[in-house]
Symmetry: C2
Subunit: 190 residues, 2 copies
DNA sequence: GTAAGTTCTTGATTTTTATCAAGCGGCAGA
DNA sequence: TCTGCCGCTTGATAAAAATCAAGAACTTAC
């Protein structure tokens, strides 16, 4: 099983011949540092699984930029509103470093359902997992202090802190870079 | 088309014979005021569409209660982690008033997919809509002040403010009841 | 290797929101 | 009708986090 097939297996729980069959639809693509994968107003018609690099999903909202998510190796890069509902996106998706992806077009994505009979069901399960993750994130934003949110992200995704500019992580957690810096200092002293 | 079939049509975009076919799986159920639909640790094995009353979904977390959502007429009451993944819930789901629902059991829910071939696809679309709504909610929590969040909820769901105790709405928006009260006062003066 | 530009940190201050505490008002039950 | 309770409001104060501003540390480019 190659790298791509590992990713597909992890995401959708497929196995055997299906892996190679689906894998063949994905093409290797690359983004240069600062290049955009998607901009607001565009309809996202690709889905990428990230091999390397750092990709930031953010919204620009009167003067301030809100980082919705940071994707690293293994991340799932797309915009569901485009991919599934053919709606224009609100998001910027931009490479913070050079990045490599396995990418499938919307047409091929739709084609999978003709090849793999249970595909819609697997998609459902995958999207439901995403939904539950969002539910957790909302809970963390509703109930936790900035320090607790830091601890939460650190536990859920420690790798981010090695690789990603802290200002973006701060935005993603709903705090300013200064606040994050002070929290980190406090934690380092312990 | 009866009331239940209207709901089913709105949720999943079905029509014609399918509506009656799926509708027949739902049974009318009722909750008394303060009765629990679900408690933490239980696996949710029903899905309800709400006809009347107010139902609160919340998490109890060392001394404080966090209201995740308030459901009114037309609301979708379930816990996906139980319904789809057979996992125990983190949530309390409780009727704040007497409430009536159309309810389907997990077994019948699964059975639908044998009756309606495209069922998994419709479920996928429905869950994807839920996901996108959560994405918006996260954006509102990350980027907006308490006043803006109030305005946001008021625009998305004005009905809630007529029917639901304000303390729960405050929690749902990530603020204290006192803060919500002050915001409302300020808005009323304009 | 140095200059220029970022990004991160630190401190001082202001703003926002939570907390604490008291009082008001409507509603349910005796 | 009265009483007690619950939910909402209001005010005073405290805590948390944002903002503003400056400087340090790290990158990148030449």
């Amino acid at each position: 099983m190659n790298e791509l097939e590992e990713f597909i297996k992890d995401y959708w729980g497929l196995s055997g011949d299906d892996l190679a069959r689906i894998g063949s639809y994905f093409k290797q693509t690359a983004l240069k540092k600062n290049e955009f994968f998607l901009k607001p107003g565009k309809i996202c018609n690709t889905l990428s699984i990230q091999r390397s690099g750092i990709i930031r999903i953010y919204i620009s909202d009167n003067e301030q930029e809100i980082t919705q998510w940071i994707s690293v190796r293994g991340g799932f890069v797309s915009d569901l509103s485009g991919l599934i509902f053919d709606q224009p996106s609100r998001y910027y998706i931009q490479a913070l470093t050079d990045a490599e992806c396995y990418t499938i077009s919307h047409e091929d994505y739709v084609r999978i359902s003709h090849v793999i009979p249970q595909w819609h069901q697997l998609e459902k399960l995958f999207i439901a997992r995403c939904f539950l993750f969002m539910e957790e994130r909302i809970f963390s934003l509703l109930s936790m202090s900035t320090e607790q949110r830091y601890a939460w992200l650190f536990n859920h995704n420690p790798a981010l802190f090695n690789e990603v500019p802290l200002q973006y992580l701060a935005s993603m957690m709903g705090m300013t870079p200064e606040t994050l810096s002070r929290i980190r200092k406090k934690n380092a002293l312990r």
